[in-house]
Assembly symmetry: C2
Homo-oligomer: 546 residues x 2
């Protein structure tokens, strides 16, 4: 991942949309040099005095960076103790440290509310800017020199600003065939349409992308060849797929060849969970708490799947990062890493909409990060990774308890190249069970354990349903979804995530899908949900008629 020689980004300003080009530069630009004169008496802006901010200080009890273990804690016989660990939200065993943000500070550069809660520049408060620049250098190591950081209110805002900065109405955006519905909802009203690219187990397929672009016919497609790509390369939403280094390089090179800007939406980057193995095959994990250290940070970062930025010698990647999954969704704080020309236009757009992100949030998050330091934050992220790893393992363990899972290599489709698990009924021997299950070895659903992210993407083998006729997929999917909901379990309906779902032109593949999130509910509830799902799905596949 190391980069030998870096050069500046190339001129990519021809990608800017008409709307973006029409945004005026601040008419004050020529006068700016006066604004930062020391001792200047500034009576120009409509700023309230900080004396009128009604908070003298804000404090927080912050979890220590090593709050979560570095390896999953396994239990071979029961998960009762896990219930204890996760079941009670009022557990008081958290180890915390107090931090305080005063209204005024005597030390220049310290975080203070007088600045944080004032009108501020949209690029980020000074201390956050410094932290992020170091973080990006260490973790992503962009291959071009003049990358720029600009904060936003999270990746939804980030993508919304990116797409309006780059695309004109009537254009199309390359994306995975299954994708994040909000990303599509941001662009459709402006008549910017998704152009789905086929996926396999490593996400977007490079040969499919090459074919699509090389054979693009603007007339039959009724739009120019797309020059923007929206992609979620790690723990993809909803499929859970994660792109390999090799695939990323191929995709990047094709984007260079066809002059495509890559918008890398990467909220799950730090949830790289590794492979799943059955419970019985796992070695008991260590319980070392592991203090933060520079050496450990370096080592850990080197194990992470590189960002597109790491290959981006031209500056054609706009990377979207967010604190939503690593601190909290309510942070509404994220950032762009991109070339300075794009950054400047994205900043202008922010000035007339969100302005700078919330100062309360920026102050608290910056305080946490600077209190933890870079190595502490990496340690926090490693612990978080382990927590999600444990959750994923637990959830799939539950599926393995409930179903017979048969591992088979997938030869085609979205899981090509991966080992997929096909689920069929187990004959249960428990005397307490009143239901009888068919012993027929019918695959009801299949999935690939995700190596990153928060989701299991479940393919329903609806063609195995007794009353299946092709074309019924959406009806059957919704029927099962509704049965589950009536029994108290909510999954994400698969049809929502088709890139062209909102466009009313969805392809059928003999399969419905569910997106199941193992990220939030307590482990006992995860177990309970899988048990209910087991009963409902078996009943469903036994039904003879709709």
């Amino acid at each position: 991942m190391s980069v030998e020689k870096r050069t500046k980004s190339i001129d990519l300003s021809h990608h800017l949309s008409e709307l973006s080009k029409a945004r005026a530069t601040s008419p004050l630009k020529g006068l700016m040099k006066y604004f930062s004169q020391p001792g200047i008496l500034a009576l120009g802006g409509g700023l309230p005095s900080p004396a009128y901010f009604p908070v003298s200080d804000i404090s927080a009890n912050v979890l220590v960076p090593e709050s979560f273990a570095l390896a999953p804690i396994e239990s071979s016989t029961s998960f009762t103790w896990l219930w204890k660990l996760f079941g009670s939200q009022n557990a008081t065993k958290e180890k915390t440290q107090a931090v305080t943000i005063p209204k005024y500070t005597t030390v220049d550069g310290d975080i203070n509310l007088a600045s944080s809660l004032q009108y501020g520049a949209a690029i980020a408060q000074q201390q956050l800017q410094v932290f992020l620049k170091n973080f990006i250098s260490e973790v992503y190591q962009p291959a071009f020199e003049d990358w720029t950081v600009l904060i936003d209110t999270g990746n939804t805002d980030g993508w919304s600003r990116a797409v309006t900065t780059l695309c004109n109405p009537g254009e199309g955006v390359l994306c995975e065939e299954w994708t994040y519905p909000s990303a599509i909802a941001s662009m459709l009203p402006s008549n910017i349409k998704p152009v789905p690219v086929a996926m396999d187990g490593l996400g977007m397929k490079s040969d499919a992308l090459e074919n699509l672009l090389s054979q693009w016919d603007p007339v039959s497609r009724q739009m120019p060849r797309p020059h923007v790509m929206y992609i979620v390369p790690v723990g993809q939403n909803p499929s859970g797929s994660t792109m390999s280094v090799e695939r990323k390089k191929q995709i990047y090179d094709i984007c260079v060849k066809y002059d495509v800007i890559i918008v890398e939406d990467d909220p799950y980057y730090f949830l790289q969970l590794g492979d799943y193995t059955f419970k019985g095959d796992r070695s008991p994990g260590a319980t070392a708490s592991g203090k933060p250290s520079a050496e450990e940070s370096k080592r850990y970062v080197s194990t992470l799947n590189p960002s597109f930025l790491n290959f981006d010698y031209q500056g054609r990647v706009i990377r979207l990062d967010t604190f939503s999954k690593t601190i909290a969704p309510g942070s509404r704080l994220g950032w762009f890493t991109c070339n300075p020309v794009f950054a400047e236009r994205l900043e202008r757009q922010g000035e007339t909409s969100t302005q700078a992100p919330c100062g309360f949030g920026q102050a608290v998050i910056t305080k946490i990060l600077t209190h933890w330091t870079y190595d502490g934050y990496i340690r926090w992220l490693r612990g978080l990774r382990t927590e999600y790893q444990q959750r994923r393992n637990f959830f799939i363990d539950c599926l393995a308890d409930e179903f017979h899972l048969n591992a088979v290599p997938a030869v085609a489709g979205v899981w090509q190249g991966c080992i997929a698990y096909e689920a069929s009924s187990k004959v249960k021997k428990s005397t307490s069970m009143t239901e009888k299950y068919s012993t027929r070895n019918r695959t009801m659903f299949s999935f690939v354990p995700p190596v990153a992210g928060m989701f299991v993407w479940m393919k329903l083998h609806l063609d195995q349903h007794p009353s299946f006729t092709p074309g019924d997929e959406d009806t059957l999917e919704t029927k099962l979804w509704t049965k589950l909901a009536e029994n108290g379990v909510l999954f994400g309906p698969g049809w929502m995530f088709a890139a062209n779902a909102l466009d009313g032109d969805s392809e059928n593949t003999n399969a419905g899908h569910f997106r199941i999130s193992f990220s939030n509910v307590d482990l006992p509830d995860l177990k309970k949900a899988v048990t209910i799902f087991g009963r409902v799905v078996r009943e469903f596949f036994e039904e003879e008629g709709l």
Copy 2:
């Protein structure tokens, strides 16, 4: 201000823009009924567990609502003691009370970080919604029944969303001839143009509006008759004018007649400062601290200039409120009050851009408000009002110390109907002064003391400059602005605030302008700035050539 009978809003959906109509309703809408089932196991959303939010609790020391006095504290001989009050930012005399927001609460409905920092609905967290609904009922008393509250990230976001929800490219928006530049910058790139309406001392002129609309010729104007108005009725930015009840009613009735939607941007509503009188004519103010009380809230609210909402029997007003001036700009929190059809479309737009405002900010602000209670917040607003009143008085007192001010009724232009103060040189007798001033009774500038807001709008009498020739206004204004900046004082350049400034088509009126903000710098610095301004402006008007 009381409203006898209220009816529901009329159908105004024909005002929605094509972009807004094209926004999809969430495809999950039909399934929503399952989402709120008690005990539901929700594995659908991509929500992290609150166990992973790294803060156990957040605390703040909050100023008591009666922190600021209810009447200006006057000093007849010197302002040394004022320096003490305002000069030291580290003054520790603040009286505060501690509030804490825990991650988890045992009492249902209490503010907690587990909910506040989670993904949330854009309409507002429950407790804030309740507070705002009561606040709006008590203070604004809308004349239609089904008004709806929706939060946003402040009025810039509010206006940006309103204008894209209502206007198509190629349309125009009615606004005051001098207005807030960011409001214009939000719409120009989408080819939505300002349509300036003449002002007098009470803001937008109703006869000018009626004439403009009744005589609108779409062909010569090259746009359809505007159906949207952007207006800042209290402490107008930049002119400082405040609209009377009578004028508001006239404007509203014209908007009914011509079917115009009023977007009321009202950040300075609670800075209604009353009239300015010369220092010598003021009676010494009381220093009563005044505890919050329901009776006092009622009495005070009845003295406030009513919102357009108070006349809005049809639901054609979108009111924009913000905490930027009453809590802090970094709050990035405000709200729409409008009819439910507009609110739903504005919410859809928010979902694909900012999502809900920052949870840290929402939690802290909601905690402050519910801790203070409604009456406490009104008390806080009254104290704040008094502080700004004192600042305005002090600033104009400084001008009166520095210049000879001659009160004259303005008969035309933006101050028509008000008493304007014309400023000319004083002969100074101080032996410490090395400069000599002309005794010529030349008016260098004039202004009307604002009755609301943060700004003094200063009209420069550039035609009194020795080398003035018509057409020179912008050059002379910038020359004086630059001289001031070089001497360490920044004012807001007037040309920025012309509604058509960014459009490159500004009208000249023999005058340049400055917008001067008395809201932020300490009083000694305000004094210093006026002294420097005095010297620079006198030198400027003595210059014979450019």
